[in-house]
């Protein structure tokens, strides 16, 4: 069987529905895409030469730039995020699909002073899923000694306690305000675009897709990133320092996403479930606290170790996968596992295509070398763990591809090896993958900073929370 001539990368997530409708109205029916099929590889009715694959939106410009895919659909913000760091990337913007309108905003907590007051302020913390754009903003405005916090999500929840600024995607200014933030500056406004790899465009016949998708409206100039001019240092520094942390409050981070139901169960057993705002089916960023002196915030588990390390959070309920990832990258970080909550168990494993005739890594490496492959590509949402594994297993020349998700679809075309969480193995089998090595067992755990001195009420609440979670975890284990 010949490989399909044209490869198309399509977004998962919020853009999936609108993108499916845009493709549909151009006469391209991607089987199962709009309905959210669990399969990552899709075909287009009547166009046998096209193979479509579903990615996290963030990964699409990278896949196009690498030349793994010829065409892709994604929001402009992710293209600009790539361009901000790699200005020479070979991604061409072909046409506006007119769906998924969104802006990229610099925002502060409500009531904080405006953009002008930032000039010359040292040590500003900027949280964003778009760290390269956040960096470009800080450089353009000449913020001295800023710190960009690259986060996996929920950047809008960071100001004011955990960051001074956030760079976030939102439909419009009203949507920024709905997060309890004030928009300071709009960096970008745009919608989803059809993008292409420059070389593919120059050498390959992509007309079966280009025709229907770029036919209609005339070419519109793509909006690009707007950056503010340099901000002159403000005269007095008074009144612009970040709001002081409420000294005697203990701060605890709770996970959203897959980990949430495990955290809810652990908190309920310990009698610490927020009365409102955090449960099996609800989640707000700042749920009501179950006890006085405790403040809770819901963020992405990937981002917890850093916040605990820097002392913004005192405690966090996170997966061991995220903690291990953090420690693999930063061995000197002061974060440690305090307590195994024993829930949400899965294995972090090395995974390959079913078709690799090998049952362990050594045989798999031999197989790939036999095929003439010089670089082993390792894709993972945990690039630090993947890198440590590749070094430790003597993979030779290898390349770690950090990805945002939808990892099962990367093998075999775009990576040889996945470092991937697997619970029952069902998803692996569905995607024609198999496990060849287990790295470690991950469960939900409680993490905290090493050697943090706490006193007074904060100390008491800390001890109370840890004790309640510990006895609940022990009780659950003895059942």
């Amino acid at each position: 069987m010949n490989p399909p001539a044209i490869k198309l990368a399509l977004p998962a997530g919020d853009l999936r529905g609108p993108a499916a409708r845009a493709l549909d109205s151009a006469g391209l029916k991607v089987e199962g895409y709009g309905e959210g099929s669990r399969s990552y590889v899709l075909s287009i009715a009547g166009r046998a030469s096209v193979a479509a694959r579903v990615f996290r939106e963030k990964d699409i410009p990278i896949q196009i730039a690498l030349g793994n895919y010829d065409l892709g659909v994604c929001g402009l913000a992710w293209v600009e995020e790539l361009r901000a760091r790699f200005p020479q990337h070979p991604v061409v913007l072909l046409g506006n699909l007119g769906v998924g309108r969104s802006g990229l905003y610099v925002a502060v907590a409500d009531g904080a002073p405006g953009l002008g007051s930032l000039g010359g302020r040292r040590g500003l913390r900027i949280a964003s899923e778009y760290p390269n754009i956040a960096e470009a903003f800080a450089l353009a405005t000449r913020l001295p000694a800023y710190r960009v916090q690259a986060v996996w999500g929920a950047a809008e929840a960071y100001p004011p306690e955990d960051a001074d600024l956030a760079v976030i995607a939102a439909a419009d200014e009203a949507a920024v305000s709905a997060h309890g933030l004030s928009p300071l500056f709009c960096l970008l406004e745009g919608s989803a675009w059809l993008i292409a790899n420059a070389e593919g465009l120059a050498r390959k016949d992509l007309s079966p897709l280009l025709g229907p998708l770029t036919g209609g409206a005339g070419r519109v100039e793509a909006p690009s990133l707007r950056l503010p001019p340099p901000l002159p240092p403000t005269a007095g520094r008074a009144g612009v320092s970040p709001p002081p942390r409420r000294g005697d409050m203990l701060r605890m981070a709770l996970p959203d996403g897959h980990q949430q139901r495990h955290a809810v169960a652990a908190l309920r057993d310990a009698g610490l479930l927020p009365p409102e705002g955090y449960g099996e089916s609800e989640s707000v960023r700042r749920p009501q606290s179950p006890i006085p002196g405790l403040e809770m915030k819901v963020i992405r588990p990937h981002d917890m170790p850093q916040l605990v390390a820097t002392g913004e959070m005192d405690l966090a309920v996170a997966g061991r996968d995220c903690l291990t990832e953090h420690l693999s990258r930063f061995p000197s970080s002061p974060v440690q596992e305090l307590l195994d909550l024993g829930r949400g168990q899965f294995n972090l494993a090395a995974v390959v295509s079913e078709e690799v005739p090998a049952s362990d890594l050594g045989d798999a490496l031999e197989h790939w070398r036999g095929q003439g492959r010089q670089v082993v590509r390792v894709a993972s949402e945990f690039p630090g763990i993947a890198d440590a594994y590749a070094r430790g297993q003597h993979l030779g020349r290898y390349q770690v591809i950090p990805i945002a998700g939808a990892s099962e679809g990367f093998v075999p075309e775009d990576a040889e090896l996945l470092i991937e969480g697997t619970e029952t193995g069902r998803t692996l089998a569905e995607n024609r993958l198999k496990l060849i090595d287990s790295l470690f067992r991950s469960t939900t755990c409680l993490i905290a900073g090493k050697g943090r001195e706490q006193s007074g009420r904060r100390r008491r609440v800390f001890d109370q929370v840890v004790a309640a979670l510990r006895s609940a975890a022990e009780a659950a284990r003895s059942v």
Partner: protein, 407 residues
């Protein structure tokens, strides 16, 4: 090899290039020591924030640094492969040497900046920093020192002088606030012609004079006088910078050194506050520097005036003529491979090296170099042309080898 093993933009320095590089370095080191400078070295990794602090490096330059999260980067604090050596030297001064008085430092070290395509991303700089109150003699000293290094290398340097205060004064006069000034200054430096038109519209009374200041260069004292008569009435803040330049130009011209004045010259470095200069050889920019009085306080030290410059060692080395290695390397031939023969060969080589000669032990001699053999109580020297001489002592062999090196 189908794909280079080297990283893009990274160069190997081969023996012949290394010899030229060392000549540059030695000329620089000798000149610096002659002027009372002392050598330092700074680490290759620094905190990124040292460079992002306003007024140090421009965003264009910062967009090209190699910054990353290292193993200690758990807080999100980035480090950077030093893109410049002046800022690290200023940090070193602020942290360890800040005890008043004049501090004169020099270094030879590499800097890393992303460059497009196959252009070099690692550059070696011979730099000096003169920290403490040294105006105006320090500004002149740096230029003379730079020219002296180049003269040692047999290169004739052209000097181009500037003063960041000239353009800044005009931009302030145009009623632009600090951020607009910076933005417009960047555009002027980028050669954006519309920036000049925009400025002319804001300062109609200066009219065509702006062209003379921003798009032209002039010769020494004469051109400075022209600038003075065209500008000081309309832009009084230009008087200070023009006075500072006039002193430097006066001294240099008095020493027979001609210089070009170019107002819009300093690129990508925002830390210069006074006279700045560039050295050029046959149209190649080989170095430059200037006064940066605000830098040390910007990175957290005391308010200390300072100035400095750096020569591009790689550019200079490439301008030098290639030369063959002058050293003759003699070979002590190995007669047998047993331990005793090896010991006697290495003993002889060592005795000859003690006489100041370069000697190796080998089975095969180097092409066209003399060979020494142990022969009973004495030695046999096989000359480069093949003739054999019997010699009784190590001293006699050494003398004969020295003779052969002179031929």
């Amino acid at each position: 090899m189908d794909r280079p093993l080297r990283c893009r933009g990274m160069r190997d320095t081969l023996p012949q290039e290394m010899r030229r590089f060392r000549r540059v370095e030695e000329a620089f080191r000798a000149a610096c020591q002659g002027w009372g400078y002392e050598e330092i070295r700074t680490p290759i990794l620094e905190h990124l924030h040292l460079f992002t602090t306003a007024g140090t490096l421009s965003p264009q330059m910062l967009g090209r640094v190699y910054s990353f999260l290292d193993w200690d980067g758990w807080s999100g604090e980035r480090v950077v492969l030093r893109p410049d050596s002046t800022i690290p030297a200023a940090r070193l001064y602020a942290e360890t040497l800040d005890q008043g008085g004049l501090v004169k430092l020099f270094y030879v070290q590499n800097v890393f900046r992303f460059a497009e395509g196959d252009e070099s991303r690692e550059d070696w700089q011979c730099g000096v920093e003169l920290i403490g109150d040294s105006q105006p003699q320090g500004d002149v000293e740096l230029i003379l020192l730079g020219r002296e290094v180049l003269a040692h290398l047999g290169l004739e340097a052209d000097v181009r002088l500037s003063h960041t205060g000239l353009v800044r004064a005009v931009l302030a006069q145009a009623g632009l606030d600090t951020s607009e000034q910076l933005a417009l200054y960047d555009r002027i430096l980028d050669g954006d012609e519309s920036s000049l038109v925009e400025l002319q519209a804001r300062l109609p009374e200066l009219g065509a004079s702006l062209q003379m200041l921003l798009a032209m260069e002039g010769q020494g004292g004469a051109y400075l006088s022209n600038l003075r008569s065209a500008f000081t009435k309309g832009v009084p803040q230009m008087e200070g910078p023009l006075d500072e330049l006039a002193i430097v130009v006066g001294a240099l011209e008095g020493l027979g050194c001609r210089c070009l004045i170019s107002a819009a010259m300093v690129r990508n470095f925002e830390y210069y506050t006074g006279p700045a200069f560039q050295l050029e050889v046959a149209g190649h920019r080989v170095g430059g520097g200037g006064r940066y009085d605000a830098l040390i306080s910007l990175i957290g030290g005391e308010q200390v005036p300072a100035s400095g410059f750096a020569l591009e060692a790689g550019v200079l080395a490439a301008l030098l003529a290639a030369e063959a290695s002058e050293r003759q390397i003699a070979t002590v031939a190995l007669e047998a491979r047993d331990g005793e023969s090896l010991a006697s060969a290495f003993r002889l080589a060592s005795a000859l090296r003690a006489q100041g000669l370069a000697v190796q032990v080998a089975g095969e001699p180097l092409q066209g170099s003399p060979v020494v053999k142990v022969a009973g109580e004495g030695y046999v020297l096989v000359g480069r042309a093949g003739g054999e001489r019997h010699l009784a002592s190590v001293e006699a062999v050494a003398e004969a080898l020295r003779e052969s090196a002179r031929d």
